[in-house]
């Protein structure tokens, strides 16, 4: 059991995301910086989608009834255990009666606090298949709200005898100037050519009105070719929508499932972590990249997590049909081939004939 002495600015329970309810108008929610969140779980030996605490800017003060193994990742909010600084991106043990607190933000916006064995059951509830808190809707996580002083959460029991400290030396660095890589679209054709130039050449400042729904930006307004309204359509994490004011809004975890403003570009998955760490006053620049580069960057980021995983070997099957090559791993899932740098053993089937080969895909 842990008890919240002070809740901090905005501390909520979040897992990876809520899947399957956007068609009912329910936002996907989940950790804003999923990379840091998954890393926090892997550092304490959890499955990477276990619920954690998402801590925003000024962190909480928490007491532990029993010994625990925890990790703090993401923003550096100056974690302190019993009066002594502790390292970010490293797992550490907390003695019974230990007090974890945070001294204040140094870099980034959101820290992730994971507990070996996860956050366990009541009053933290799984709603629509996810532990993520959706504060505007008042559901998920701890009673659908941010933590308050006096809240008690049951966490997994730690086996200190088997505990091996883990660290993540290749962790990302967050700075006050973020370069976010984007793919243009889906509605870049609704903007003037000048606006397309502007989005990749001008600096934008993160507004104080930013939250888990989206990052509002201030700077040079972009110009729509026609009306700033489109027939409402779907949105994605990282989509940059531009309302009538011309000032871009980057949509985040709690974004509405539908939107009626043109979307000029979308931040690539590999940079969602940086997006989640922006604070008001930070500078944002955009750089337009290709889908190929976006996927390469995402694979590189995933490989960084591999150092924290015990990976099984993948035996793969390659189906050759016409010009399209589908590679399917043993679970039946497609391994995309329009990226680069993949190498694995595979069996190739030409109708009747099956041949084992090693496949290596490079740039």
């Amino acid at each position: 059991m842990i008890t919240v002495i002070q809740p901090g600015t905005f501390t909520t329970v979040q897992d990876l995301r809520r899947v399957g309810f956007q068609s009912a108008g329910v936002p996907e929610c989940g950790a804003v910086d999923k990379f840091s969140m998954r890393c926090a779980n892997l550092l304490v030996g959890n499955l990477e989608w276990e619920p954690v605490l998402e801590i925003t800017l000024f962190g909480p003060q928490i007491t532990f009834d029993n010994p625990a193994i925890v990790a703090v990742t993401g923003a550096n909010l100056s974690p302190i255990l019993d009066g002594e600084s502790v390292e970010n991106w490293t797992s550490f043990s907390v003695p019974a009666g230990g007090i974890l607190s945070f001294g204040g933000p140094v870099t980034g916006a959101r820290s992730y606090l994971s507990f070996a064995g996860g956050i366990r059951s009541s009053p933290v509830a799984e709603v629509m298949g996810s532990y993520s808190t959706y504060v505007p809707g008042g559901f998920g996580g701890f009673g659908g709200r941010p933590l308050k002083a006096g809240d008690e959460l049951k966490i997994g029991e730690a086996n200190l005898n088997e505990y091996k400290q883990r660290e993540f030396p290749s962790h990302p660095q967050f700075s006050e100037d973020a370069l976010l890589r984007v793919l243009l679209g889906p509605q870049d054709h609704l903007f003037t050519d000048d606006s397309i130039q502007l989005i990749s050449s001008s600096d934008y400042q993160v507004s104080v009105d930013s939250d888990r729904m989206g990052i509002r930006l201030e700077g040079v307004p972009l110009t729509h070719l026609n009306s700033p309204d489109v027939v409402s359509d779907g949105t994605a994490f990282g989509t940059i929508q531009v309302p009538g004011s011309g000032l871009p809004i980057i949509l985040s975890a709690d974004r509405g499932t539908t939107g009626g403003y043109p979307k000029i570009a979308t931040v690539i998955s590999a940079d969602h972590s940086k997006l989640g760490q922006l604070i008001p006053g930070n500078t944002v620049r955009f750089s337009v990249v290709s889908r190929k580069l976006a996927l390469k960057a995402l694979r590189q980021q995933e490989r960084m997590l591999d150092s924290l995983r015990d990976l099984p070997t993948i035996s793969s099957v390659v189906k050759v049909s016409g010009e399209i090559i589908d590679v399917v791993d043993e679970t039946g899932q497609m391994v995309p081939l329009d990226g680069s740098g993949y190498r694995f053993n595979a069996s190739v089937r030409h109708s009747e004939h099956v041949e084992n080969v090693e496949i290596k895909i490079e740039d």
Binding site: G25, G185, G256, T258
Partner: protein
């Protein structure tokens, strides 16, 4: 002529499939807001959901388009695009399976419809006429969005068109039935709103703790049926709370 050729001719250069970043595709099936395109959206969305293709996270339909969220480490944009184009080529756009009509009992006027007086003034219709016109049509649920469970409904009869409130309410109670401009809607959860409130339903449109949290599904038809008295409203409300009352669902 086969159905597939017909729908291809009809929908011209659609589908338009565009990347939304590296892990979602926007699939546009037509322009603007119309029931035929919307029906094709829901048919295709069901086919894709039922396909069980690995790597597809979820499919989100709106008016004339839908978004497919996928895991780019498991599924490529190119393979997914081909898959969607194939479904578009083979789908029977007149397939109406899974279509339902939901009956929503609604009390019009009184303190549940505080803007009914202004609607009478603005439209020149009497209370009885407003109730009759509003409750005599099926409204197509084009999509759910804006807030959890909120239905984007088909067109309101032009006789009831009237502007939004000059200043929006800070909180509209859950269950409120409202109209504004060419639209009508129901607020599933309390939220701010600038539409004119004409009535209220005791039925809960959204409950996060239900197996199916949203009462309505995209593609449904919604019919408002007037509740005659406050007593009847209270009775239905109480039976909703105990779970005894389930709104009528007619499979079409």
């Amino acid at each position: 002529m086969t159905m597939a050729t017909e729908s291809k001719d009809y929908f011209g250069s659609y589908p338009q499939i565009t990347d939304i970043g590296d892990s979602a595709l926007m699939v546009v099936l037509g322009e603007g807001v119309n029931p035929i395109t919307n029906s094709l959206v829901h048919t295709m969305v069901r086919e894709i959901q039922d396909s069980g293709w690995p790597g597809i996270r979820e499919v989100v339909p709106v008016y004339s388009s839908f978004v497919v969220h996928y895991d780019p480490l498991k599924l490529s944009s190119i393979a997914l695009t081909t898959f969607i184009e194939n479904i578009h080529g083979s789908v029977d756009s007149k397939n109406s399976s899974g279509k339902r009509r939901i009956i929503l009992p609604t009390f019009y006027g009184g303190d549940f419809g505080p803007d009914l007086d202004s609607v009478e003034e603005l439209t020149g219709c009497s209370l009885e006429e407003i109730v009759k016109i509003h409750s005599e049509t099926d409204y197509l649920v084009y999509a759910l969005g804006f807030s959890p469970g909120f239905p984007y409904l088909g067109d309101l009869d032009s006789r009831l068109h009237c502007p939004r409130l000059d200043s929006p309410r800070v909180e509209v109670p859950a269950g409120s039935v409202a109209i504004a401009e060419t639209q009508t809607g129901v607020y599933p959860v309390p939220s701010p709103g600038g539409w004119r409130l004409i009535g209220k339903t005791p039925v809960s449109l959204f409950n996060p703790l239900r197996d199916l949290p949203a009462l309505l599904r995209p593609g449904d038809r919604l019919r408002f049926v007037p509740i005659e008295s406050k007593e009847e409203y209270k009775e239905i409300e109480n039976r909703c709370k105990t779970g005894e009352y389930v709104p009528e669902v007619i499979n079409l």
